[in-house]
């Protein structure tokens, strides 16, 4: 499976994979809520790869991102991962209605047809004619004499034939890198929450943590008045997220895994100071509001002045 994904990445084949994240191997207990795969999927699959991840927060975003993922896969010619978790998949949610209409038209991306080939347009399967790292492709059987290619993983030149030279490999990798810079403009932007003027710490959250996090943020705004929020919807490596992290004294990364995988990605890809962000503690079940406030309070004592439950005399 991993080798296939790496091959699709290098050979520029579109694919969509829905990753229902959970903690650990199957032990007949489907209640270990977790968001655990993005570090490995982003960086560590087969080969020198990097992948696009979409991180929906609720069933409505799952629906939206499902439609978007197929468009992105064709447009970017690469595997797209929609990262769900058990909390979204197995529980009942209230969400906005699904808008089916916008999914009716598929974006197939850059495809060269018979007329283009017949007109003599230059075709090379990995030829970057638009300087965006994305090359045109053809469907099999399009033209009797033009547009066919026999392709493979990484050892190839811009026209697809086998090429084991170092320069061809480097150029191939640079085209992939350029494509991922292009991808940043096509992905949904992070959602920035309301910010208080005196806010000194920020919170980054994503996935099924969203409802509990919004409740916790509302609570902290009315009490400590010193927080802000940033819902990290798509893949993390955006300038918006980097600027958000740079703005505050501390940034808490609320996530559901042991090692702070999203935080690792943010530190690596946004080039931020590792001491400026904090991962969350591990829990077996999905986060809830009290747990989030308690965790933040442990790293930000100002919050502890407000008791979680007020004693009624």
């Amino acid at each position: 499976m991993q080798e296939f994904i790496g091959l699709a990445y290098f050979a520029r084949y579109p694919a969509v994979i829905f990753d229902i994240q959970r903690g650990g191997p199957s032990d007949r207990h489907a209640d270990a809520h977790a968001a655990v795969g993005h570090r490995d999927l982003r960086l560590r699959l087969h080969g020198d790869t990097k992948h696009v991840l979409l991180l929906p927060a609720d069933p409505h975003e799952c629906f939206e991102f499902a439609g978007l993922s197929f468009d992105l896969a064709d447009r970017l010619q690469t595997p797209i991962f929609v990262m769900l978790d058990l909390d979204i998949g197995m529980n009942e949610w209230l969400s906005a209605p699904f808008a089916v209409g916008r999914l009716a038209r598929l974006d197939r991306g850059k495809v060269m047809g018979f007329d283009d080939l017949e007109a003599g347009r230059a075709f090379g399967r990995y030829l970057d004619v638009d300087d965006d790292g994305i090359a045109y492709r053809t469907y099999p059987g399009t033209h009797p004499t033009r547009g066919a290619f026999f392709t493979r993983g990484s050892s190839k030149d811009a026209d697809a034939p086998l090429h084991r030279g170092g320069s061809a490999y480097v150029e191939n990798m640079q085209r992939l890198q350029k494509k991922f810079r292009t991808a940043r403009n096509l992905l949904p932007a992070p959602v920035l929450g309301r910010t208080h003027k005196s806010a000194r710490f920020g919170v980054i959250y994503y996935g099924s943590t969203a409802p509990a996090m919004e409740e916790a943020l509302e609570r902290s705004r009315t009490t400590a008045r010193c927080s802000t929020s940033c819902a990290c919807a798509p893949s993390p490596s955006t300038t918006t997220v980097a600027a958000f992290i740079a703005r505050y004294d501390k940034v808490f990364v609320v996530e559901q895994n042991r090692d702070g995988q999203m935080r690792m990605l943010l530190v690596n890809e946004c080039n931020v100071d590792p001491t400026s962000s904090f991962p969350f503690s591990l829990r077996r079940h999905a986060h809830h509001r009290r747990f989030i406030i308690r965790e933040i309070a442990a790293g930000w004592p100002a919050l502890t002045s407000d008791p979680f439950r007020k004693v009624i005399a």
């Binding site: 066919a148 026999f150 086998l162």
Partner: protein, 198 residues
């Protein structure tokens, strides 16, 4: 000579088939396999077969796994789309392509190591599913691309090996009504096979 582009000129009286294609229209790039490799003979046979069957080259999709055998689709049917996929996983890639476009003719090219070891699961299941394809096993008896380690299937073609092979391997190969193309000489010893591959 493998670094040059294959010349396209041919004899003026080279006979075309009823579609107007000559045999040369079914050729691919210059082979980079070892001189004398039996795989090139199989490529030549595929070219001749497609020419005689009068199949438009661009209506064929050629898919392969990994290995010397799986490099060969580069050397025939140059006007066909193709994909050099994952070791032993050609059947699933071909099955997916077949589901997406049922109008093409699918040619799967694999080797003895690619089909009978790492890819045995996929090999067996594509037969069980009756995928509409031609599956060619180019059997040279070794892993040629990795310098000649012995491959798992019987040391010769199924009929010849039936007496000496285990019942399991007999049943596997006898169950496969696929093309079986021995790429090595039946008389060749394992040592000579090894030395003929790199």
């Amino acid at each position: 000579m493998t670094f040059i582009t294959k010349p396209t000129f041919h004899h003026l009286k080279l006979a075309p088939n009823s579609l107007g294609y000559t045999r040369r229209d079914y050729e691919g790039a210059v082979s980079t396999l070892c001189a004398g490799c039996g795989h090139d003979s199989i490529s030549a046979a595929i070219i001749q077969a497609c020419f005689e069957l009068e199949i438009p080259p661009h209506r064929i999709a050629k898919l392969s796994g990994i290995g010397c055998s799986s490099k060969t689709p580069n050397y025939f049917l140059g006007s066909s789309h193709g994909f050099n996929s994952v070791h032993g996983r050609m059947p699933s890639v071909l099955t997916g392509a077949n589901l997406a476009n049922r109008d093409l003719i699918y040619l799967g090219v694999s080797g003895d190591g690619d089909s009978a070891s790492i890819g045995l699961g996929q090999f067996a299941h594509c037969i069980r599913r009756s995928v509409n394809m031609t599956y060619i096993v180019e059997n040279n008896g070794v892993y040629g691309l990795t310098k000649g380690q012995f491959s798992p299937p019987p040391t010769a073609a199924p009929r010849a090996s039936a007496a000496s092979s285990t019942s399991t391997s007999r049943s596997i190969w006898s169950a496969c009504r696929c093309s079986w193309a021995p790429a090595s000489s039946p008389a060749a010893s394992p040592a000579t096979r090894t030395s003929s591959c790199r």
